[in-house]
Symmetry: C2
Subunit: 237 residues, 2 copies
DNA sequence: CAGTGGTCTAGACCACAGC
DNA sequence: CTGTGGTCTAGACCACTGG
């Protein structure tokens, strides 16, 4: 074996996981304290703390002062997936990325959009529509609303070359948001842009992005039929 | 203000995030070393390390020995969502949960299933089909394949009362897996069970679960039309 | 080789929650 | 009050990697 040795706290975490998997420590039971486990494994308390904290962060253990550490009764498994640039998402499949700006306009935002972004009714926002393609075939339709006043530089951005998706990700380093996934029927205009039949089932993603507690942008991504979103489930990331 | 003080490493993380958001530290640039930052903030190196590691885990920073720490150029935002029991997922909407076992049989697994689980071609698995409902209306169709030999006790489990979903989650404490989301057209038999029209767009989730590197179960969940999957995007959780 | 982050230690004090 | 986990310190050594 030429495998390098994992750090101590990781080895300890694996051993603790094994005890849980093998039901030596059953869900709901209290396990020994940090000090006791540190002594058992012959490590400093900080090292044992690291292993236990990782498992607690993953939802496998629940820790409370005075009470101790218990194995979670009904662990909620976490699914995680990355949200790369659409360009990278496409290029990673080995295809050639293409991009076409359909329209850019300043309009009164629909109620649903202004509510999602937490801005006044009938606010004036920038709407951008574009199609991203893979090897020339339509991949996803991007329909975006941007609160341009809250995004310095956006008004001057040339979106015919760099997509709004890419520009925003590069210019808003840190943000939070919410994503909603639905299966919808392609409307006729969407079907035409995606080169599919009206009524085809299409994966639709709606993302709202916030920065410092205020809404910045909402985007609706309609993927061409057959698109799959893959995500890992697990304890480790 | 009666707000309790956050731990030091969290305050430091927020300040580092602020510098990134405000573009004092631009994407791609190298930031000061742990030792320098620890001195600047007047804390031990371990405390600064904790703050930096959290940001690196979130993908905001990239750290490499010798090279130092840089602000990630194109951060891949992470979306996370919990996978609760279907029963809890339904009850959290305020609806009354219902469950009906449709069939349970031992069969030769289709090729797609045995491949996904990494088991021999034409292996014998247990197939379970069930409908979960909310306030009496069909909510999701569960079509599951279980490698019963690898799940002690499953053969004796009574799935007419507790769903396979619930039984497995309670009896397999730790597992990993993969999830694939697609938008599909409801087949006629599915539409009948979900009380919708054939051809309706339905969110379809395929989950493969592994334990100790061997496949345990695959499930296909077909949600009734209109179902939305909501997920948080962010840097922290 | 040297400089950086990754890990570990031994010890300390604090925060919380049950008694 | 006591016992638990949460945080922090000062210091040490190791692992990786560019020069």
């Amino acid at each position: 074996m030429s495998r390098r040795e994992a750090p101590g706290w990781q080895q300890i975490r694996e051993e603790l996981l094994r005890r849980i998997r093998d039901r030596e420590w059953r869900p709901g039971t209290i396990i020994p304290t940090e000090v006791e486990l540190a002594k058992e494994f012959g490590v400093a308390r900080a090292t044992m703390h690291r292993a236990l904290r990782e498992l607690a962060d993953a939802g496998t253990l629940e820790r409370r002062r005075r009470l101790g550490t218990r194995v979670t009764m009904h662990p909620v498994r976490q699914a995680r997936f990355g949200i790369p640039l659409l360009r990278r998402e496409i290029e990673e499949t080995g295809a050639v990325y293409g991009y076409r700006l359909l329209s850019r306009a300043v309009k009164v935002a629909p109620t649903a959009v202004s509510e999602a972004l937490g801005i006044p009714y009938r606010a004036i926002l920038t709407q951008v529509r574009a199609v991203h393609s893979a090897d020339g075939r339509p991949y996803v339709l991007e329909e975006r609303w941007v609160h341009a006043r809250r995004v310095p530089g956006f008004a001057a951005a040339d979106l015919s070359v760099v997509s709004a998706n890419e520009w925003l990700l590069a210019n808003i380093p840190v943000s939070t948001g919410e994503m909603t996934l639905t299966a919808e029927r392609a409307r006729a205009d969407v079907a035409r842009l995606l080169d599919c039949q009206a009524g085809d089932p299409v994966m639709t993603v709606r993302r709202v992005t916030w920065r410092d507690g205020v809404g910045i942008t909402q985007v609706r991504l309609v993927y061409a039929p057959g698109h799959a979103i893959v995500s890992a489930i697990g304890v480790d990331p």
